[in-house]
Symmetry: C2
Subunit: 194 residues, 2 copies
């Protein structure tokens, strides 16, 4: 990364330098960031859709039942997990739709428009992805540990497979969250530095 | 907002125009955005610290008990609520420390450095704030509605005050989340547009 160059109104020298440097390294590190952006988006798509699919297929029925309970756990036992599946699918869909804009940023590394568009939408979907990942994580934590004061019992002793599947979905979704943070930071650097 | 101006290497005309426009409106809308940034940060500080304090003081003991249970609910009954108090205090602290940088952006509206610094840290703390707000929200939802399949009973019938207090803390924390999203979008616009 080069140093920060502030552009006050009068410094024609700095501006001139930027113009001169540009053509010698067409694109330069901005193109590299755009390519990393594209690859990160592919990874985030896999993480988000994988999380949605893993959570959506989580279902475990125990091989015994009583008169009052049939022991079955699936993702739609919890409203939070339903929310998780829907938002992760939404996030995956957004990421797929954002790929063309990422390609535009690769082709025209110095264009600010596409990056600005992406950074704003990325921020919104980062919030959505984080919210669903964190809320599902807190439910998974409860399922593992229970809560003594409210007498909520841990269910993971019985529903081991269900817990393992939902836990891995949560981990995968946090992968998408990390990707979003990196995407936003990279876009901000590409926009901000001359 | 003006229209997007792409700056390819050759368009000296556009660059010249930007230089001419600058001095006639010193600062201009960027200064306005910086001032709004400062005000939003003050609001977000109030929201984050208010949420931490509200959650941290939530405590309700019912006026009866049995041999086995003393009916008391406080924020440290739930690991998630402890996490909530800690992260909201952290977010509030970060926001206080970020105020000087916001002031620098007001004084020098065209400087990119402070805004870039703020947008990156804002993204990190947006993720932190969203995670704690959403995880606390999912616990509050469980406390209100319970969960039939896992036999977790709703506790809000008994602990009405506790539930009201934690709910308002969650609402307040989502106020901070919205403020962060706006801060990031505004910073991105201020960096990206000439």
């Amino acid at each position: 990364m080069s140093t920060t160059i502030d552009v006050p109104e009068t410094s024609k020298v700095t501006k001139g330098k930027a113009v001169v440097v540009g053509p010698t390294r067409p694109g330069g590190w901005k193109k590299g960031i755009a390519i990393m952006d594209f690859i990160l988006r592919l990874g985030a798509i896999a993480a988000a859709l994988g999380a949605a699919a893993t959570m959506g297929t989580s279902d475990q029925t125990l091989p015994f039942f009583t008169q009052f309970f049939q022991f079955e756990a699936s993702y739609d036992s919890f409203t939070t997990f339903q929310f998780f599946v829907i938002t992760m699918a939404l996030v995956g869909g957004y990421l797929v739709l954002s790929l063309p804009f990422s390609v535009v940023a690769i082709v025209r590394p110095h264009a600010v428009g596409p990056r600005l568009f992406l950074i704003i939408l990325d921020t919104v979907f980062l919030t959505l992805a984080t919210a669903s990942a964190a809320s599902a994580a807190s439910i998974v934590y409860l399922a593992h540990n229970g809560d003594q004061d409210t007498n909520w019992l841990a269910i993971c002793n019985q529903f081991g497979d269900f817990c393992a599947q939902t836990s891995s979905a949560v981990v995968s979704s946090f992968g998408a969250v990390v990707a979003f943070v990196l995407l936003i930071v990279m876009s901000a650097l590409a926009i901000g530095k001359p």
